[in-house]
Symmetry: C2
Subunit: 344 residues, 2 copies
DNA sequence: TTGAAAGCGATACCAA
DNA sequence: TTGGTATCGCTTTCAA
């Protein structure tokens, strides 16, 4: 083998454009970067030359010398891109980003703390302009040294610890209260709560709301069963099966998350108890209205969450630095469809 | 405001590392790029200097001069990141990419041709290493001039036109045949097919399969109703309502896509015909097994599709050039759950 | 309003 | 096995 032919395609450079337009390269640079002090006629000639030559500025070359470099990309950390809740957030963010010609990197964490850090590292290394993250780790202190001080960060769905930044999340306490109060209002006194691992902030918040509603109705927490550590559908299904097999079993269930809800519905159906045990799920699921009975849920607004988070991120990006951290709480909506209106 | 302070952090450069290690910069370059011809002792000294100075090579500077530049990112074009089918593909690809430290950009096209081209442009401009795309445009000829000749491209879910590259898709014709044959086997003779716009390749393929099965059973295509241009749930719901309002209405429905299936189920329920009109959907949907009757579907294997597509992309990337285009057809699975086993 | 010259931080080539 | 030097394509600086 002799000619290892670099085969580099004959790139069009700024120099050729400048020559074609009969100006200096600095003037071409001014035009493409919308800098002031270019005569309209000159700018027009330059633009014509750019079009004729089909020149595209080389991003690497620009960013090399530039002080404030933008990759026009953002990093998004989610539970899983395959989870409908996360996917809806993702789409909402993409819809805002695309208007600004910003591309979105997404990464699935599966609630594993190490993956959160690895993903942040990976995105920072790729020099994303900003980060939107659903945190999985116990503390976000690591962000202080990992993320450049001017890079905007927005937390979505969960509040961070040891790191101050914008946060957007559902009214978890209020939503769980609403669900629980709804069941209590229908006469239930033996309730169960099914939640994910307590390391997860939303699980803790929803538990707080559940307990607050019980207290409000003067129902002792001792009469309630709380099953935690339910991180997938199968675990939830097994938990409900066990739950209902004991004497004085709960007559109503609050599910703390969409996967748990689906698992619970499966269990109730298999046991033939779906017309008998009340169920309210946190977060809506597809086809919930077509089940028999319809599935009552406290619906979140993932699209709104994504939109608000993206707006906030771009606001920081526009001002050129992080805005003072603010927290935005998104309301939830109780949707009665049948399963939550069953009496004990 | 006075000091617009560039605030550029004092960057560590390769020069300082070379000085510290007592070598030339080219030797440092050799070490970080694992090039041959470096004495082990020298390499060790260089590595020590890199660690001490915490030097990280500047990606922009490297990529500027480098001929074969890798950003360790790939672009993924999907129907919508919020559609469960697309989202599952996305996740499968991410799971493979992450092992190679490759990040994934995703873009939702909503089946709009212009967005396909815009998304490809956006990704090429960001110098992704490869592209996986569900095409929405009529022709992919544009890729020839838009995409660098060595950049690997894999089509997923749909076959491209006017551009040869790897393709991964379901057995659409076979799947539609399977669904239709299933209904014909239960005695149905007046069938309806609900599909998306015929510009979409999968819609055309599934129509072919539907017609083939009819022919196989000696049923004239004239007795069948084909409703096309159904691109969302509402349209499907309306179509089914209209469909069943005429005399000699179809007794069985084949739905060509997940959104259409959900719309059809809604219509049947609203009309109270769900125990009466048979339905087989293409592509599985969440909770399908808990409906009454259960929803019979021809399930696709989105996870397998994503995995195969990603494997193929990385195989091309590993060899350093596009592999000869190959087509991989992924099997589908008929899952009988009740709605497809209703007799006329 | 304009442009010439001096980098930016790495890689490529070639001589030592 | 090494390292000097010429780039890479653009932004910055500064003088015209």
């Amino acid at each position: 083998m002799t000619s290892l032919s670099t085969n580099r395609p004959p790139r069009v450079t700024i120099r050729e454009v400048a020559h074609r337009a009969g100006v200096g390269i600095k003037t071409v640079s001014r035009v493409v970067n919308n800098e002031p002090n270019v005569a309209p006629a000159t700018a027009a000639r330059v633009r014509a030359a750019i079009d004729e030559l089909k020149w595209e500025p080389d991003a690497h070359a620009s960013n090399l010398r530039r002080t404030t470099t933008r990759t026009k990309s953002v990093g998004l950390l989610l539970g899983s891109v395959a989870n409908p809740f996360s996917a809806t957030i993702h789409r909402a963010i993409e819809d805002i980003a695309i208007h600004r010609d910003v591309a979105v990197f997404a990464s699935s964490l599966d609630d594993e703390p190490e993956r959160e850090i690895a993903a942040v590292e990976a995105f920072v290394r790729r020099k994303v302009d900003g980060l939107i993250l659903t945190c999985a780790a116990h503390s976000q202190a690591y962000l202080t040294e990992l993320v450049p001080p001017e890079m905007p960060v927005v937390f979505i769905d969960r509040e961070p610890a040891d790191f101050a930044a914008d946060t957007v999340h559902s009214d978890n306490v209020g939503g769980a209260e609403l669900a629980t109060r709804h069941l209590l209002g229908f006469g239930h006194r033996r309730l169960a709560l099914l939640i994910d691992r307590r390391e997860i902030w939303t699980a803790r918040e929803r538990e707080r709301g559940f307990l607050a509603a019980l207290a409000e109705f003067g129902v002792s927490a001792d009469t309630a069963t709380i099953v935690a550590d339910l991180s997938d559908q199968d675990a939830a299904e097994r938990a409900v099966t066990t739950l209902l097999s004991v004497p004085d079993a709960p007559t109503a269930i609050v599910s703390g998350q969409n996967l748990i809800t689906v698992g619970a519905v499966h269990a109730l159906r298999r046991l033939g108890r779906h017309h008998d045990v009340a169920l309210v799920g946190f977060d809506d699921v597809e086809l919930a209205d077509l089940l028999e009975p319809g599935l009552t849920v406290v619906a979140q607004r993932p699209q709104e969450m994504g939109r608000v988070a993206a707006d906030r991120l771009f606001a920081s990006l526009d001002t050129g630095h992080r805005l003072p951290p603010a927290a935005k709480v998104i309301p939830v909506d109780l949707i009665p469809r049948g399963s939550g209106e069953i009496r004990p």
